[in-house]
């Protein structure tokens, strides 16, 4: 039994991602929500727009699976608070997340046990994802692993192209210019913190002031030192946050010779592993629908990936590649530094060589655009 149609809704969440993928079979449909987050709403929408999107998703009935490509707010914020409650009420059977989210994963530089103490702003979304995973089936995936979605989607081949594990790619430890041995910095920081909290004391036998007797002339500095420690932690979390892009799940759905690619925010370091695999390169060549990676940033769509797509074309033929870009310009980066998102030169290429749809082009009254593909 194969699906006869696939539909893809690209919701306008401003700067963020939200795709609803529906596989239509003869007697039923299977619905998968891939990411649901936003860090900057579309212009002119009401404050509860994420809740409205969740309600809209709910009108279609239950969800069969959710995929949270990585734990950045622009991909998972909607899984938190009120909109998250609506998603949870749709009782997804499978929750797909990167292996780094696995509670059983060995403790690591950016493993989850470290994250939990870092006051990440999306903690309610993370908790909700964990809860949904606990009630259903949790799939913590890595390149080459089963997706966890196969039993749900007969006739669909689902390949997990990323993220690579630490063993698969040392590059994921840190972005390209950083030597993997720098990894110890993360460990030194977190283990130092953990040890300090556990041991509680550097010099157990040394004399110290009790909390109430701090000399007045030192109080100003003590408050500053506390603020420095907080700033240090925040700074480190920001650095770790960048690394998370490279733990983003990359999914390729194949139905016969029709395939759709969802790379989340995977950046060059993560792609370099996948693109190094011959089989993956062959499969990527046939992609017909490309959900543009990392909101159109310069690192999200490596040239070596783009050049693989055989359905790129300057002619508007029927089998031309469809690119779907979910973004909001003016949120990140700067044009003089060539870091603006979406990157102008990439958008020009997408327009020239594919049918480009960008969520920012939707009218205020349009919540989404739906694409249908008859198989």
């Amino acid at each position: 039994m194969n699906p006869w149609k696939v539909s893809l809704r690209a919701y306008n969440v401003g700067f963020g991602d939200c795709s609803l993928l529906t596989f239509h079979y003869a007697h039923e449909s299977k619905r998968i929500l891939i990411d649901f987050g936003s860090t900057k709403p579309p212009a002119g929408v009401p404050a509860n727009f994420m809740q409205r999107i969740a309600r809209d998703i709910a009108t279609g009935g239950s969800l069969d699976a959710v995929v949270a490509t990585h734990r950045h707010n622009d991909h998972i914020s909607g899984f938190g608070s009120n909109s998250g409650k609506i998603v949870a009420s749709l009782k997804p059977q499978v929750v797909v997340q990167p292996w780094t989210e696995d509670p059983q994963a060995a403790r690591d530089g950016f493993g989850r046990c470290d994250q939990s103490e870092t006051c990440t702003p999306n903690s309610s979304a993370v908790r909700n994802l964990m809860e949904m995973a606990r009630k259903g089936h949790a799939a913590y995936v890595h390149s080459g692993s089963p997706s966890g979605l196969d039993p749900l989607l007969p006739g669909v081949e689902i390949l997990v192209l990323g993220p690579p594990t630490l063993e698969q790619s040392a590059a994921i430890h840190w972005e390209r210019r950083c030597d993997p041995k720098e990894f110890w910095q993360f460990r030194a920081f977190w283990e130092g913190r953990a040890e300090a909290c556990k041991a509680g004391d550097l010099f157990p036998h040394a004399d110290r002031y009790s909390p109430g007797e701090t000399p007045p002339n030192l109080r100003w500095f003590l408050a500053r030192a506390q603020a420095i420690r907080k700033a240090q932690t925040k700074n480190f979390v920001r650095i770790l946050d960048r690394v998370l892009n490279n733990t983003s799940v990359i999914l390729l759905f194949r139905i016969g010779d029709f395939s759709l690619l969802f790379p989340g925010d995977a950046q060059i370091e993560s792609w370099s592993w996948s693109l190094g695999q011959k089989r993956y390169r062959e499969l990527l060549a046939g992609v017909r629908v490309y959900k543009v990676g990392h909101h159109g940033s310069r690192n999200g769509t490596p040239r070596s990936l783009w050049n693989l797509f055989l359905h790129r074309s300057r002619d508007s033929e029927s089998s031309r590649l469809l690119s779907i870009l979910s973004t909001r310009p003016g949120t990140h980066g700067s044009e003089p530094a060539h870091t603006e998102v979406p990157r102008r030169t990439l958008v020009e290429t997408l327009e020239r060589e594919s049918n480009l749809f960008c969520t920012q082009n939707l009218a205020k009254t349009q919540m989404y655009r739906e694409f249908e593909f008859i198989l």
């Binding site: 840190w174 972005e175 210019r177 950083c178 030597d179 720098e182 110890w184 910095q185 460990r187 030194a188 920081f189 283990e191 130092g192 913190r193 040890e195 300090a196 909290c197 509680g200 004391d201 550097l202 010099f203 040394a206 004399d207 110290r208 002031y209 909390p211 701090t214 030192l218 500095f221 003590l222 500053r224 030192a225 506390q226 420095i228 420690r229 700033a231 240090q232 700074n235 650095i239 700067s334 044009e335 003089p336 530094a337 870091t339």
Partner: protein, 555 residues
């Protein structure tokens, strides 16, 4: 009670990993004596042993009292290594001693008191500030902060406050910030690299000015009385430094600071040119050039003492420490002869040569200028000035200024009087009349040479600042960078260090004019291309950010 002007304190010479025969190499350093409060707390430094990760504020011991019959006792002179490492009092005293020693080196070289950049007089030093592989200077918090963290392999902790060059490096950031506050502003890769590079130069040379460290380099086992001639060539010394210090320097600590010693000794001129575009690589090139000159002068000084293919170890050690101390003096004094804004290495090269020329016009004992000039040029750093008195040194102004309406006696301590002089001579000095102009400091100096020669100078430092729109850049001969809007606000900086002799006449006027379109264009292009106009730049704890970026090699 009268007390002795200096005191000696035991410190760890480099860090606990550098040992001879299983014992940590220590040094006894001489620093200004004072009546210390607990902490220790002195007139410029207050150690606060607060650990923000655990919230514990340690009580530290009272320093030994002063005596009238000699310097106060050195409280850790006879402690075992284990006792030192386990004592928070030693950690506090070690940090205090290194900060004070670095401060004293600056004050001696410059011939005057050196202020911190913040209004207070006492720098807080936190030897166990947080559990993190980090250490930095924070002007906003008026503090030097040193972290601690567990060893990568093994169960011990690593303390940044016990690493001499880390403490000296951070102290230098603070002192340089007090002397040239504009050097931390965004300008060019060279200026950005200078803060790091200069701090490394001071840290390394102050390390080599310790005989104990030099002895460890020349004779790692510590049991020879002589050194072979083959061991005192520049290349052999490079290898000895790497083997004696670089190799043992803990991997953990090199994570905080990188490993400037290794890089500066290993980086050869042919590699340098490919590295000079990025800020921290720029800094490394400068450090490598100065360390190259240090080794060459040292080798040159040792040659006459070689007899029968060997020389006395004590002599070799003494010469190494002496060369390092003298070169350190030159480097610090060169700050006074450097422009207050938009520093380029070529300016610092001329400043180095001028600083030495002023003290020792005849370069015939150590040949510092000859070696410095050759090393700097070999690393691609050509002095900015051609130099009429001597190649590479700054030249005096071409025209005579008007002295009639100002009083030099008053000008030596009154910025208002100094401003009047500068304003009266604005055309001669190349000032822009419509720019905001401010005298940052006027500092009389009495510089003493090793031979007893005394040089009296006054250094006045002023800056000019003009805020214009992109469309107005052409009035100053500057092209608007491609993509910059005509309404974009642009801030241009100029500024000079004016050096007066003891009679109040201008010797040098060193700096950058707003009317220098080449320099202004280069700076503007760099800032525009690096995205400085569009990014939000955090001004707070700039050194902490810098340090973290460098630590992760993420610039």
């Amino acid at each position: 009670m009268r007390y002795y002007p200096t005191r000696r304190l035991t410190i760890i010479a480099r860090d606990p990993s550098v040992q001879v025969n299983g014992s940590i190499v220590r040094a006894s350093v001489e620093i200004p004596n004072e009546e210390l409060a607990s902490g220790p707390g002195g007139y410029r430094v207050q150690v606060v042993d607060y650990d923000s990760s655990t919230g514990i504020l340690y009580r530290t011991m009272m320093a030994p009292p002063n005596r009238s019959d000699g310097p106060p006792d050195d409280p850790f002179e006879r402690c075992s290594d284990d006792e030192m490492l386990a004592s928070p009092d030693f950690h506090a005293m070690n940090s205090y001693a290194i900060v004070m020693r670095t401060l004293a080196l600056f004050e001696f070289a410059l011939g005057r008191r050196v202020a911190w950049t913040f209004p207070g007089h006492q720098m807080k030093v936190a030897p166990h500030a947080f559990a993190d592989a980090n250490a930095f200077y924070s002007a906003e918090d008026e503090a030097l902060l040193f972290g601690y963290f567990p060893q990568l392999h093994g169960g011990r902790r690593v303390f940044a406050c016990l690493a001499h060059d880390i403490v000296a490096h951070e102290t230098t950031h603070a002192l340089l910030d007090g002397l040239r506050e504009r050097y931390k502003e965004p300008s060019s890769p060279e200026q950005a690299g200078f803060h790091e590079g200069f701090a490394d130069i001071v840290a390394l040379l102050s390390l080599f000015a310790l005989r104990e460290v030099v002895a460890k380099v020349l004779d790692p086992a510590g049991d020879d009385e002589s050194v072979s001639a083959a061991a005192v060539t520049a290349d052999a010394l490079r290898q000895s430094i790497l083997l004696g210090l670089g190799k043992e320097f803990g991997q953990e600590l090199s994570g905080i600071r990188g490993n400037p010693l290794r890089r500066s000794v290993a980086l050869r001129p042919d590699e340098a040119t490919t590295r000079e575009k990025e800020a921290h690589s720029c800094g490394e090139v400068l450090v490598a050039a100065v360390m190259d000159a240090f080794l060459n002068v040292w080798v040159r000084r040792l040659r006459p003492y070689i007899r029968n293919e060997a020389l006395d170890r004590t002599r070799a050690v003494a010469e190494g420490a002496s060369v390092a101390a003298r070169l350190l003096n030159i480097c610090i004094r060169a700050i006074d002869y450097s422009p207050p804004t938009d520093l380029q290495f070529c300016d610092f090269a001329s400043a180095l040569l001028t600083a030495d020329w002023e003290m020792y016009p005849r370069d015939e004992k150590y040949f510092f200028r000859e070696e410095l000039r050759a090393s700097l040029i070999s690393y691609g750093i050509e002095p900015a000035s051609r130099g009429t008195a001597e190649p590479g040194t700054w030249d005096p102004p071409d025209n005579l200024p008007v002295y009639d309406r100002t009083h030099f006696e008053q000008m030596q301590r009154d910025p208002e009087e100094a401003f009047r002089f500068i304003w009266e001579n604005r055309r001669l000095l190349g000032l822009h009349e419509n720019a905001y102009t401010r005298v940052l400091s006027v500092r009389p100096c009495v510089r003493a040479g090793a031979d007893g020669f005394v040089l009296r100078e006054t250094v006045a430092e002023y800056v000019q600042l003009i805020r214009i729109r992109g469309a107005e850049l052409s009035t100053l001969g500057i092209r608007r960078p491609p993509g910059m809007r005509g309404t974009q606000e642009v801030v241009l900086y100029g500024g000079n260090a004016v050096i007066f002799d003891q009679f109040g006449r201008i010797k040098y006027n060193i700096g950058n004019s707003l009317f220098n379109p080449q320099r202004q264009q280069a700076r503007l292009n760099h800032l525009w291309e690096s995205g400085s106009f569009s990014r939000r730049h955090a001004s707070s704890r700039r050194f902490a950010e810098m340090q973290r970026r460098r630590m992760l090699e993420y610039l």
